[in-house]
């Protein structure tokens, strides 16, 4: 155990890592917005009266929840360009894989939230003359979203962790830049320790906030 840790080469390459961090945050934000909003659409489709929409939603959810997200990213990167005549960038493949995967997971979260609202509220709102869409927007969703907020924050944290998978298709993010720095300086131990620590420092406050949110909601319900 006489290894002497030396973090100086990692610090010297802070610019490369910062550049990667920007890529990580960019990918995270796009996937967060796309994944969580598409998830709501899928959840609503899942509840639709039209059989076709409902089955499409179920198929989508099952397909994307029951296959690994890395397989999805690689499929979009290597396989999809055979079908459609477009060039797919690593960024595009990562967005497609992570967003669609997150949409499938968050659709189930939204569904649980909407189902948790008693049917009496729907009936009451319909009775005073609201349309189905109005009931959803004014009565059901505001309460449902509040209830599932901790689950959605958890999903957000998962999305942030998933962004590292984009390094497999060489998208420039934190881990990808780390690989580069480690291979140039032969110091994988320090580099991956720093990267792990960075992720922890960024995400742990969010994890704590989610715990606190869960406790507050449990009390108020």
């Amino acid at each position: 155990m006489s290894y002497r840790w030396d973090f100086a080469p990692v610090l010297d390459n802070w610019q490369a890592l910062a550049f990667g961090a920007i890529g990580t945050v960019r990918l995270f934000l796009v996937c967060l917005v796309l994944g969580l909003s598409l998830g709501l659409v899928v959840a609503l489709m899942r509840r639709s009266r039209h059989g076709v929409l409902r089955w499409l939603a179920i198929g989508f959810i099952e397909l994307f929840r029951n296959t690994p997200v890395l397989v999805q990213i690689l499929w979009f990167y290597f396989a999809l360009p055979m079908l459609v005549p477009v060039e797919i960038s690593p960024f595009g493949a990562a967005i497609l894989g992570i967003s669609l995967n997150s949409a499938a997971y968050s659709a189930e979260i939204y569904r649980a939230g909407i189902q948790s609202i008693e049917p009496g509220q729907w009936e009451a709102a319909r009775a005073i003359g609201m349309t189905g869409l109005q009931v959803l927007r004014r009565i059901v969703l505001p309460q449902a979203l509040r209830r599932v907020l901790p689950a959605l924050t958890n999903r957000g944290i998962e999305i942030f962790k998933m962004t590292t998978l984009a390094s497999v298709v060489a998208y420039v993010e934190l881990l990808q830049q780390g690989k580069l720095v480690a291979s140039l300086n032969f110091n994988p131990l320090e580099v991956y320790t720093v990267i792990g620590a960075l992720f922890f420092l960024l995400l742990y406050p969010l994890v704590r906030a989610t715990y606190a949110l869960e406790r507050r909601l449990a009390r108020s319900d």
Binding site: T67, A79, K161, M162, G178
Partner: protein, 224 residues
């Protein structure tokens, strides 16, 4: 219009099946290691002693909050430098996924143990059982049953996470698919076939889990 041709995939089906076998083997090893590690972490976390609960808390939080791919790289590329051991992709993956799933299992065990009414433990103590006996005979059997759905979900997540080992060249299903795609120039068919193999395997596991859950629900004492 692209013409699908699955014949190169079928001709090399044994490669993909060997990959699937490796995926299942790795999942099995990580489960066999992760469950005891998770139980140990949960018991340490719940023990009154600060010297046990604090380190267990750190392990749980660190492995739950950092990306698994970073953990894998740390164990594969970083750890051999400190320990001066030869690291194989398989060993690195088994270690990473054992500890990582252990951290997740710990939280499931903890929730299950806490969910068993305190009074039961006190009653067991009152009739003369030691703390360990009460845990083993009274609390854990009930807790394990309640935890089953969460355990299955985590195990399925684990199977999906094992795809990451393809990045350190362990010949799991995804790695084999990647190799085959390059060899046959048929990425569309190969990756589609691999995705379908995962889909079938995982759907099968969740169907069996759902069946067992229903059986357990009939015999009573399930969560909810």
């Amino acid at each position: 219009m692209y013409r699908w041709d699955f014949s190169p995939v079928i001709a090399n089906g044994d490669l993909l099946l060997a990959g699937l076998a490796n995926t299942l083997a790795l999942t099995g090893v990580a489960l066999a290691g992760g469950i005891p590690v998770g139980l140990a972490l949960a018991l340490a976390r719940l023990s009154g002693s600060r010297f046990l609960s604090a380190p267990a808390g750190v392990v749980i939080e660190v492995f739950r909050t950092t990306p698994p791919l970073v953990q894998l790289f740390w164990f594969y590329f970083g750890l051999p430098i400190v320990l001066k051991v030869e690291m194989t992709p398989y060993l690195a993956a088994a270690l990473t996924f054992t500890i990582q799933s252990g951290a997740f299992f710990a939280e499931i065990f903890r929730a299950g143990i806490v969910s068993v009414d305190r009074g039961q433990r006190e009653a067991a103590r009152a009739i003369g059982m030691t703390e360990a006996q009460a845990m083993r005979r009274i609390v854990l059997p009930q807790a394990v049953k309640r935890m089953f759905p969460a355990m299955m979900e985590r195990s399925i997540e684990l199977m999906k996470t094992t795809t990451l080992v393809a990045t350190v060249s362990y010949a799991d299903l995804l790695y084999q698919a990647n190799e085959l795609a390059q060899k046959t120039f048929r990425p569309l068919e190969v990756f589609t076939a691999a995705a379908l193999m995962y889909l079938v395997t995982i759907s099968l596991v969740s169907a069996i889990a759902a069946l067992v859950e229903r059986r357990m629900a009939v015999s009573g004492e399930m969560a909810r």
